[in-house]
């Protein structure tokens, strides 16, 4: 059962033929994405090759501090990515800190529980388990947070007059912002809900497919995938709620004012 087909670099190059075809077609149709496509492809190749090397050496060195350092770096990159994906961002250090800390806290707790209570590798922080788990949970939490913050900031900016109308009639800031906080949280939850609804019927998740391709029994692969999906959905939900509440708090003040002046519009 544990036999798996080793891929050669020629196989991988051949697999990219269809992507190349996409590039040629996009040039022909003047889609204006050829440049982005090339950059994204090169980034992916370089990043994955590097991460492969990095993981291999991390597995050999097996240092808890190095593993922690890599985990923190991953959180830092994700925080920057969340920040970059918002059309209207909080000004100053809070712009990156709210997304980063919400994600770090929720993903950190969920990943710790998964490692110490569920998977129980020896040692519990073993990079071979800790980093892939963290990466999978974080990738999804990142999407959830950036969607919810983008929704919240856009809605608060657009509905300033309606929110202030409620404040003027004596509502407190939480009452006035509540519908938009809910809307933002829903937006952050949607990818997890959609993914869980479609999984196994429409899509076969990458991790499970990868395990099956590398020879793992499908039942075992499914068990792993279920655990990962529970962790992903749980951590994403917590991260979305923390980030949305944190950002709503930062966009109001202790005199129950809406502080749209703390937002900065980035691009059209």
């Amino acid at each position: 059962m544990s036999e798996y087909v080793v891929l050669s670099y020629v196989d991988i190059a051949l697999a990219s033929v269809f992507l190349l075809l996409n590039g040629v077609l996009s040039l022909w149709l003047k889609l204006g994405v050829a440049r982005n496509l090339v950059f994204a492809t090169l980034r992916m190749v370089v990043q994955l090759l590097l991460v492969g090397l990095l993981l291999k050496s991390l597995f050999t060195i097996q240092s808890p501090w190095l593993t922690l350092l890599i985990a923190l770096l991953m959180i830092g990159f994700a925080a920057r990515e969340i920040w970059a994906r918002q059309e209207r961002r909080l000004k100053g250090w809070q712009g990156m800190a709210i997304g980063g800390t919400s994600m770090g806290a929720s993903v950190g707790v969920v990943a710790l529980v998964a490692l110490i209570v569920l998977v129980q590798p020896e040692p519990w922080w073993h990079p071979r388990y800790a980093l892939p788990l963290l990466g999978m949970i974080m990738g999804n939490a990142m999407t959830g947070i950036s969607l919810s913050l983008d929704t919240l900031h856009t809605a608060l900016n657009r509905e300033q007059r309606a929110i202030e109308a409620q404040l003027l009639l004596g509502a407190d800031k939480w009452q006035a912002m509540r519908p938009f906080i809910r809307q933002a949280m829903r937006a952050g939850f949607m990818p997890s809900i959609n993914a869980m609804a479609a999984i196994g019927v429409v899509s076969l998740p990458g991790m499970m497919t990868g395990q099956i391709l590398s020879g793992v029994d499908p039942n075992e692969a499914v068990k792993y995938q279920l655990m990962v999906m529970f962790l992903i959905a749980g951590a994403t939900g917590l991260a979305v709620m923390l980030a949305t509440l944190g950002s709503a708090r930062a966009l109001s003040d202790d005199r129950d004012r809406l502080r749209i002046d703390r937002l900065r519009k980035v691009k059209a």
Partner: protein
């Protein structure tokens, strides 16, 4: 009563002003001189400095929502957060839209179909529900015709008769003369009393 001492916000101020119970003061000034900025600051809707008080207490000692219930601000363009007019009122059954020349069934309308004049009058009725001590009105009759303006002013005078203090921002000098007890001009961030009403 509204007492304002050394209120500053952005390029406005320091502004000091005292409005007695049952008094209407009018503020005029060129467009963009900061009349709305001043009213927003009094309502504590933007960060500002200064000492403000009404008969209900000192602003700094009262939670902001309680202050805004007592110091009712009607912006030039009102905000609406629900689909129907009635959803914006605490006791829609007790509201009489006809008193401001609106159709009696206006409470059942959708906000989306309201004209700017209807919005303004309904927003005024919504503000009065909380029986504020002070009214801050930002060009309240700009979208209204003469007949509706007269009804609005009559309603305002009823409020004043019951002791409400009013700060009225207007672009209409005739209105300032007609209903205000004193007339101020805001220019270059400073408020000064006009010689004649």
């Amino acid at each position: 009563m509204l007492e304002i001492k050394a209120l500053s916000r952005l390029h406005i101020g320091p502004v000091s002003l005292s409005v007695a119970n049952g008094e209407i003061i009018a503020i005029t000034g060129p467009s963009g001189c900061g009349k709305s900025v001043l009213l927003r600051a009094v309502a504590d809707l933007d960060p500002n400095e200064g000492h403000l008080e009404t008969q209900s207490g000192v602003r700094a000692e009262i939670p902001a929502p309680a202050w805004r219930r007592k110091v009712g601000y009607l912006p030039a363009e009102s905000g609406w957060w629900a689909d129907t007019v009635a959803a914006h009122f605490e006791t829609p059954d007790k509201i009489d839209p006809a008193s401001l020349g609106l159709a009696p069934e206006a409470m059942g309308w959708d906000v989306a179909r309201l004209s700017s004049g209807e919005r303004q009058r309904l927003a005024f009725l919504r503000l009065l529900e909380h029986c504020p001590d002070v009214l801050l009105l930002d060009e309240p009759t700009a979208p209204l015709d003469a007949a509706s303006t007269a009804l609005f002013e009559a309603r305002l005078k009823r409020c004043v008769a019951s002791g409400v203090s009013v700060v009225l921002v207007t672009h209409d000098p005739a209105q300032a003369t007609r209903i205000a007890d004193r007339h101020f001009v805001l220019d270059s961030g400073q408020l000064s009393e006009a010689a004649h009403v």
